[in-house]
């Protein structure tokens, strides 16, 4: 989540280069040095290593001396690895269902929470709550709530004659994870939409009221266009976040039953930390990262195109 927010902040920053700054020479470096050294040590060096490791064949057991460069072998192997493609497919399904659902429900909730309501501040806090609680507490709770025999969720669904097996069933495990993701993310979306709605052009609504426009017309012509950048931002951050979804899977399903919830980030984790194939895991990470980056840029560009046409 945090990563893309930074990009959003950075693009804006570039357009507002400050004025009245005088040259400070090496003193400026001194100010940056503590942070920069840490970023080099803990981010840049690992990043360079992951790129290098992606071209090696190495398992932990053989020690550092056992590293052998094998060119693009890992990438060839990825292309032929059914496990990889299965994981990519699951990830795409997970992203394609959970992200739009979260955004649409978040939009509805954001609009509703923008109206005068009894106890509005409390309501906003309630919907946001799942977003700030740690994944283990949440995961353990849902694991028990979705217990197929006696969990509360099935006790309620029983009234409608449905008894999904949730995490015990290879059909229901992924939907169960999606339900949890949507529950966790809707409040965040509604909050972001809420802050965008409060910046919406008030005069336009007043003019529309004078013209006697319907609520739907006002939404379509004024609200939605003014929310478009926010929507794209949320799509991008949620796509990035969802494609990395890991904590709940590691905790609850461990990729199962079978490989029913082995999404790409879990597949990478398994390859690296369970089978100790670090070279191959690095290659998977790199390929996935490039894929998500392309997906993100496409979403971003699509929005820019729209904005220019308007």
């Amino acid at each position: 989540m945090a990563t893309a927010t930074v990009v959003a902040a950075g693009t804006k920053a570039r357009t507002e280069q400050g004025s009245g700054i005088r040259p400070s020479g090496w003193i400026g470096f001194l100010f940056i040095a503590p942070n920069l050294l840490g970023v080099i040590a803990f981010t840049l060096i690992p990043l360079v290593s992951v790129v290098l490791l992606a071209f090696t064949d190495w398992n932990l057991v053989s020690g550092l001396g056992g590293i052998t460069f094998n060119g693009i072998d890992n990438f060839v192997a990825i292309a032929r690895d059914p496990g990889f493609w299965h994981a990519i497919g699951l990830t795409l399904v997970y992203v394609a269902v959970s992200v739009p659902l979260t955004v649409v429900l978040g939009l509805g909730l954001g609009i509703a929470l923008n109206r005068p309501l009894p106890g509005r501040a409390v309501l906003r806090a309630i919907f946001f709550l799942p977003y700030i609680v740690n994944v283990v507490a949440i995961g353990m709770t849902w694991l028990m709530l979705m217990n197929p025999k006696a969990g509360l969720v099935n006790q309620v669904l029983d009234a409608f004659g449905i008894q999904p097996g949730w995490f015990a069933s290879s059909h229901w495990a992924l939907p169960a994870l999606i339900v949890m993701a949507v529950w966790g993310g809707v409040g965040y979306c509604s909050l972001i939409y809420l802050s965008a709605l409060q910046d919406a052009p008030r005069q336009l609504y007043e003019a529309a009221d004078i013209d006697g426009a319907s609520a739907w017309a006002k939404f379509r012509v004024i609200t939605w266009p003014s929310l478009l950048p926010t929507t794209v931002f949320l799509l991008v951050t949620l796509i990035i976040g969802a494609s990395q979804g890991f904590g709940l899977i590691a905790l609850i399903t461990a990729g199962g039953p079978g490989d029913a919830t082995t999404t790409i980030s879990y597949y990478m984790y398994q390859t690296g930390f369970q089978f100790y194939r670090f070279g191959y895991a690095s290659a998977i990470g790199l390929v996935t990262f490039v894929g998500v980056l392309v997906l993100t840029l496409v979403t971003w560009r699509a929005q820019r195109g729209r904005a220019l046409n308007d």
Binding site: T3, I32, G38, L117
Partner: protein, 274 residues
């Protein structure tokens, strides 16, 4: 229809939805006070009978107490927050208000690293931390968290919006660059720093993935990892104890959230959109 009625017309469905949203938390709290045999009773029993207060004392003082892990989480979070605030304010200030060779290129590099997913870095960090002796220590969690690109961005965003005239006036009065920073701009940044501090605390407190990979000794588990103490080898969860530990793990974040709600929400929305 008057506004008064429409307020309730929208309010009631939203409150029903909110209660459904809260149900998992209510269940967590209720189960934390139940005997294990009552956890899966059909139909669900919301008010524990009898109240099993022992769950909390077992979780806090028993053989698998989460209290040491709680302490480690506090330690990690405090050092991370302090370190991040220190390095991020200095770097953010320099990127915004100072001028030196290569500044903008360096900033672009920062931008680029910001989109790297943390997971991609876990494999090399795992290996590298083993080599330099940080693996399986709390420093493996603390150090990377002290030097963040996100914090630097947030602080830069703030300092860019501050007028340069203050600095010029201070320099005329003979202040050096460090004094200009600490006496003029840093006090102005307190609200942004507290917002960043809150976010950094919550991220650190809730982090599960990094300790999962970089900590192996249960004696060094942070709180999220220790919540799995009450799951046996067959994967059977002890409901009462697990939920009591979960409630304990939520309390600090909940306090931060309730007490500093406005600032917290402002921080969330500002990292998001503005």
């Amino acid at each position: 229809m008057t506004d008064k009625y429409s307020k309730w017309l929208w309010g009631i469905p939203l409150w029903i939805l909110a209660i459904a949203f809260l149900a998992p938390f209510a269940w967590m709290l209720s189960t934390s006070l139940k005997a294990d045999v009552d956890a899966y009773k059909i139909p669900m029993q919301w008010i524990p009978d009898p109240f099993q207060w022992d769950n909390f004392s077992t979780v806090l003082t028993g053989a698998t107490s989460v209290l040491p892990a709680f302490g480690r989480s506090v330690f990690v979070a405090l050092l991370r927050v302090a370190g991040e605030l220190l390095t991020a304010t200095m770097a953010g200030y320099a990127f915004a208000r100072m001028s030196f060779r290569g500044r903008d290129k360096l900033f672009l590099l920062y931008l680029a690293t910001a989109i790297i997913p943390a997971q991609l870095l876990l494999v090399p960090r795992f290996i590298y931390f083993q080599k330099i002796g940080l693996y399986d220590t709390l420093w493996a969690l603390i150090l990377p968290g002290m030097f963040t690109v996100l914090g630097t961005f947030l602080m830069r965003q703030f300092f860019v919006s501050q007028p340069a005239e203050f600095a010029e006036a201070a320099r005329m009065d003979g202040a050096n660059e460090w004094q200009v920073f600490t006496r003029i701009y840093l006090p102005l940044a307190t609200p942004v720093m507290s917002a960043l501090g809150i976010l950094a605390f919550v991220w650190s407190w809730n982090d599960y993935e990094t300790p999962l990979v970089l900590i192996s000794n249960p004696d060094r588990y942070t709180l999220p990892l220790s919540l799995t103490n009450f799951v046996d080898e067959q994967g059977q969860i002890a409901p009462g104890l697990t939920m009591a530990a979960s409630v304990i793990s939520i309390v600090p974040v909940l306090i931060v959230f309730v007490v500093l709600q406005r600032r917290f929400i402002a921080a969330m929305t500002h990292t998001g959109i503005k």
